[in-house]
Each structure stands twice: as structure tokens, then as C-alpha cells.
Amino acid sequence: MVGPNLFINYGEAVAVILFGIGFSNLLLQKNLIKKIIGLNIMDTAIYLFLAEKGYIAGRVAPIVVDGVQEVEAYINPVPSGLVLTGIVVSVSVTAIMLSLTIRLYRRYHTLDLDEISMRLKKEGL
């Protein structure tokens, strides 16, 4: 059932625990701000996961210093690139979620999504 590498991969383990927490928050919280926080926890967990994946014991960041170009010298650059892209995406998405929240709050003066839908029903819009 449980594989051999659980404790070697403790970094990944932490990452997926964070991911689960963020996922559940985003899915199940009622408060919009908490949902957004959950979203950011989730994304950050993914970056942690990627960083752990890129790491190789005893090697340095992939920036060529004084012309050393052996594979043994540097860690894997791909995950770092993926993290960069992921960060930008999550920034944009957070901005959108926040602006949606602002609009809803301006109108309904609440952050509780259920309450908002209740009021919508009452409005019968």
C-alpha cells in the first residue's frame, strides 16, 4: 500500500498535504476571501512540489558560473521554469477572483457565497 519513499520525499509529502488543505478550502469554504486564500495555498503547494522535484542533492542553481557546464554541476532547470509560469498564472487568477469578490461585496455587503445566492433568489433577478 504505502510505498518505500514516503519519508525520503518528505518535501513532496508536505506539498501534497498543503495541496489537500488548499483544495478543500477552495472547494468547501463559504467565505470568498478564505476561498481565495485556499487557492493560493494550493498553488504554492504545487510550486513547493515542483521545487522539490527539481532538487538534486549537492548541486547548485542552474546559472553558469565560470564556464562549468557539466550536468553534475547543476540541478534540473525545467521545474524552475514551470514554477515561474505557474506563479504568473496564479497571480492573474487571484486578481480576477479578488475583483469578482469586490463587485459582489459592493452589492451585497457580505462575503458568504450561500448568503449571496439566497439574496439573488430573493431578488428573483
Binding site: L27, L82, R107
Partner: protein, 497 residues
């Protein structure tokens, strides 16, 4: 290298570029740019399709100076080209059909922003269709999501914004799952390009390495895309999003956005993991079950609905269920049926949305089915179009829906132990469809002379009428000339493998 082979790249980059340009253009110019762009991309896809039919083999296209495992790639086959063409046609028709409502419902100063969204949506759809690289797929999935969110809430009232929030939440969950499963897959295979991943996955499976994480990864990926394409338990956002956004948005959302994700899922099945491995994994059984549930519950909630547009949206839930049911069969024919249903549902559902708008407009804007009494006489073309769409949904011969149901049944009959549930649920959901669509059709043809509603004739709504006629023709074509399309799907799938 043949010049035609550049067309996929051209169409993606053109739609992105016109999106960027639209940001500084006034609304009129943006509108024209958008129309021209869609037609040009459609034309290019058509040419590409013809070319590929000629050569009969797919090809990969470097995005940059570097070969396969190092640089990005896009890949074009018959299926991709055809899909791109189809998406362009649907998008063009949806835009023209909803333009009048758009002017009414969206503040004029934000129209060019709307066209930016549409252009980037097109680009993301094309990229999802053509890409050969999972991470590119992820980036463009995000673009697709954001532009879809923009399309939902461009008409700004509380409903749409709430719907947009719900949509964003669901699809962010989906992309989160997709991204982490992507990372795990990268960790297992060390590649991001689909073809290389497929090779290494085949090696892993043959050596029985990493079988547990491989399966969970596949499962998470399917779950993510299923959530994003509103498979049954995750459809809570759908009715509001489709039901209250402006009509061309609704048409595009229902017929293009979710279809983009589904097509990506098909690509993942064939090009990333390998169809045999998928077919014998447990994942598709889950998809099968949820598809069946969606077929039933979507139709049930559509029956309970009194608001015509929400009703149509709920029927979308059922149709998505059909598609996943086809996946769940795990056979070539099931896949074919699902792809055909993607086409037929896209054609029919956008037709229904646009026709419904025409009907509500002549009923003092009320969307309650009761108030639509006699709307079929006040707006003849819309009434007729709605009837055609409903018949196609119900699966009456001569229309596209019938053929897809036929294909589904053919596929499921081939199966040993999924045959009975599939066929029975098909029967039940067909009859449920018949109930709510026919109810509506009869309602709009119940004669009632309402003096207070204006009457729309074809004269004063040329664009609208032309759109609907095109849609009807498209539907009947899919229904009658289904064989070449099925052949095309077969060749496309064989090119995938």
C-alpha cells in the same frame, strides 16, 4: 516544408495578436477584426484539412529552433484541423447570432474588451486542439478558463457575477488537479511533450514500474478535466453561467469551452497515456458511471425547470454525460460516438440558445416557459429553429442528435457488461429529453394573440435569421451526411495513435 503546414501556427498566433491589437481599437473596428479573424482562421483550417486529407498523415511543427524533447511543438492531424474548422464555424455563427443582444446588454465602452476575450478564447481553443505539449496545454487551459469567466460576467448583474465566481472556483479546482497531476507525470517520465511521455509511459507499464502513481496521476488528470467540463456532480455552476450570460457567450460556453477541455482529454487518452492503458484502467469505469448519472439527473432537473434558458443549460449537463459515457465504454467506437456527439451537441445547443433568445424577446423578455405561449408565431424563424433543435436533441431522424444516439447505441451494444446499463439509460434519458423539449415546443406553438408583444419578422432581423438558417443547415447536414464525418473521425483517431 510545405507552406500549408504553417497554418496551425498562423491561426494561433494571429488570434492572439488580434486579441492584443483589439485592446487599442474602438469597438466597431474590434468587431470587424474579430469577424475577419474567425473567418480567416476557419478558411486556413479548411485548407489544412483538405491538405491533410490529401497527404493522409499528421505532422509535428517546431515552435522554435529546437527539436522534439527540448522545444515546444504543435501537431496537426485530420481530426485537429476539422475540429478547428468546426469551432470557427460555431463561433462565427454564435457571434453573429447574439450581436444585437450584446449591444443591448453590455455597456458600449467595454465591447472591444469583449472582442479581446473572444479572440483569446479562439486562440486558446486552437492551442488546445493543436498542441503537442502538456504544459502548453495547461497554460492555454488557464487562458480558456479566464476568457470564459470574462464571457460569463461581461453582462454585469448579480447573477452573472455570482455565476462567474462559482465557475472560477470549480475550474480553478480543475486546473489545480490538472497541474499537480501534470507535475507527477513529469516526475515519472521526465518529459512534457505528449509523444515522449507516451513512449516512457509505455516503457514504465511494460516494466510494471510506478504503477500506483501512474494510475492515480491518470485519475487526477481525468478528474481535473471532468470538473472543468462540468461532468455531473460538478455542474452546480453551469445553469447560472449559461442561463444568465449574454446569449453569444452562452452559446460559445456551452458549445466550445467545455468541448475544448473534452478534446484535450481525448488527446491525453490517445497521445499521452495510450488508449490501451486507459481502456484497461479503472478510471474509465468511473467516468462511465458519472456519465450515466449525468444523463439521468441533468434531464430530470431540466424537466423541473421553468426558465427556458436554464432548461437548455441543464440539458447540456445531460449531453456532457453522454460524451463521458462514450469515453467510459473504452472502445474505439465509443470514442467515435463521443466525438460525433461533441459536434452535434455543439451545433444543436448553440442553435437552441440563440433561438430561445429570439423567443423570449417577443415575449416581453420573460424567460418563463409559460409566458412563451405562442411565441412561435410572433417570431417564426426562431420558433422553427427551436423546433429543429429540440427534435435533434430528442433524437428524431434526419437531425444530428439521432445519428449520435445511434452511434452510442452501436458502440455500447458491442460491449459485454456495459451494454445493458448504457442502452437502458440512453432510452430513459431520450424519453426525458422528449418530455421537456416537446413540452416547450408545443407551448411555443399554442396559439395566443398577445397584443402587447412586438412581432419579429425575418425582414427586420436579417443577421439573426441568416444565423439560424445556417445552424439549421448545419444540423441537418450532420444528420444526413453523417457517414463521411464518421469516416473522418476514424481516420483522425488512427492518426492519433
Amino acid at each position: 516544408m510545405n507552406f500549408v503546414q504553417n497554418f496551425p501556427f498562423f491561426s494561433i498566433i494571429l488570434s492572439m495578436f488580434s486579441g492584443i491589437v483589439s485592446s487599442v481599437l474602438p469597438a466597431r473596428a474590434a468587431k470587424w477584426l474579430n469577424t475577419i479573424l474567425i473567418s480567416v482562421v476557419g478558411a486556413m483550417s479548411a485548407v489544412l484539412l483538405v491538405y491533410l486529407m490529401g497527404t493522409g498523415e499528421s505532422y509535428v511543427y517546431w515552435m522554435g529552433h529546437f527539436p522534439a524533447p527540448w522545444g515546444n511543438e504543435i501537431r496537426a492531424g485530420v481530426l485537429e484541423a476539422g475540429m478547428a474548422l468546426f469551432f470557427c464555424v460555431i463561433m462565427l455563427l454564435s457571434m453573429t447570432g447574439g450581436r444585437k443582444k450584446l449591444l443591448g446588454e453590455v455597456e458600449y465602452s467595454k465591447h472591444n474588451l469583449y472582442y479581446i476575450l473572444v479572440n483569446l478564447l479562439l486562440s486558446s481553443l486552437l492551442a488546445l486542439v493543436y498542441t503537442n505539449d502538456l504544459f502548453t496545454a495547461y497554460v492555454f487551459v488557464e487562458i480558456n478558463t479566464i476568457s470564459a469567466c470574462g464571457l460569463i460576467m461581461i453582462r454585469q448583474n448579480g447573477r452573472t457575477i455570482e455565476a462567474a465566481v462559482r465557475y472560477m472556483i470549480m475550474s480553478l479546482l480543475g486546473s489545480g488537479l490538472f497541474l499537480i497531476s501534470l507535475c507527477m507525470l513529469y516526475d515519472l517520465t521526465g518529459h512534457l511533450l505528449m509523444s515522449n511521455i507516451k513512449e516512457s509511459v509505455a516503457v514504465l507499464v511494460s516494466h510494471h514500474q510506478y504503477s500506483v502513481p501512474l494510475m492515480t496521476t491518470i485519475g487526477l488528470m481525468c478528474a481535473g478535466l471532468a470538473i472543468k467540463s462540468a461532468l455531473f456532480p460538478f455542474h452546480s455552476w453551469l445553469p447560472d453561467a449559461y442561463g444568465y450570460s449574454t446569449v453569444s457567450s452562452a452559446a460559445m460556453l456551452s458549445s466550445l469551452v467545455s468541448k475544448g477541455y473534452i478534446f484535450l482529454l481525448i488527446k491525453i487518452f490517445y497521445r499521452v497515456i495510450g488508449f490501451e492503458i486507459i481502456a484497461e484502467s479503472k478510471v474509465i469505469n468511473v467516468l462511465f458511471v458519472f456519465g450515466l448519472l449525468g444523463m439521468i439527473f441533468g434531464s430530470l432537473s431540466a424537466i423541473r425547470e421553468n426558465d427556458i434558458r436554464r432548461m437548455i443549460s441543464f440539458s447540456s449537463v445531460a449531453q456532457i454525460g453522454y460524451i463521458y459515457m462514450g469515453f467510459g465504454l473504452g472502445t474505439e467506437s465509443g470514442m467515435t460516438a463521443s466525438i460525433f456527439h461533441i459536434l452535434s451537441h455543439a451545433a444543436t445547443k448553440s442553435l437552441l440558445f440563440i433561438a430561445a433568445i429570439g423567443l423570449t424577446d417577443v415575449s416581453k423578455g420573460s424567460r418563463q416557459i409559460v409566458d412563451l405561449t405562442g411565441a412561435g408565431y410572433r417570431n417564426k424563424i426562431a420558433g422553427f429553429a427551436f423546433t429543429v433543435g429540440s427534435l435533434s436533441m430528442v433524437g428524431v431522424p434526419m437531425f444530428s442528435g439521432f445519428v449520435s444516439k445511434l452511434l452510442f447505441a452501436e458502440a455500447s451494444i458491442g460491449h459485454t457488461y456495459k451494454m445493458l446499463p448504457a442502452v437502458i439509460v440512453l432510452a430513459i434519458s431520450t424519453i426525458l429529453n422528449a418530455i421537456y423539449f416537446m413540452k416547450t415546443v408545443i407551448r411555443i406553438y399554442v396559439p395566443e394573440r398577445r397584443k402587447d408583444c412586438e412581432v419579429i419578422t425575418i425582414k427586420n432581423e436579417k443577421e439573426y435569421a441568416v444565423t439560424l438558417v445556417c445552424f439549421i443547415v448545419l444540423n441537418v447536414m450532420l444528420g444526413m451526411l453523417s457517414q463521411p464525418i464518421v469516416q473522418w473521425i476514424h481516420t483522425g483517431l488512427s492518426m492519433f495513435g
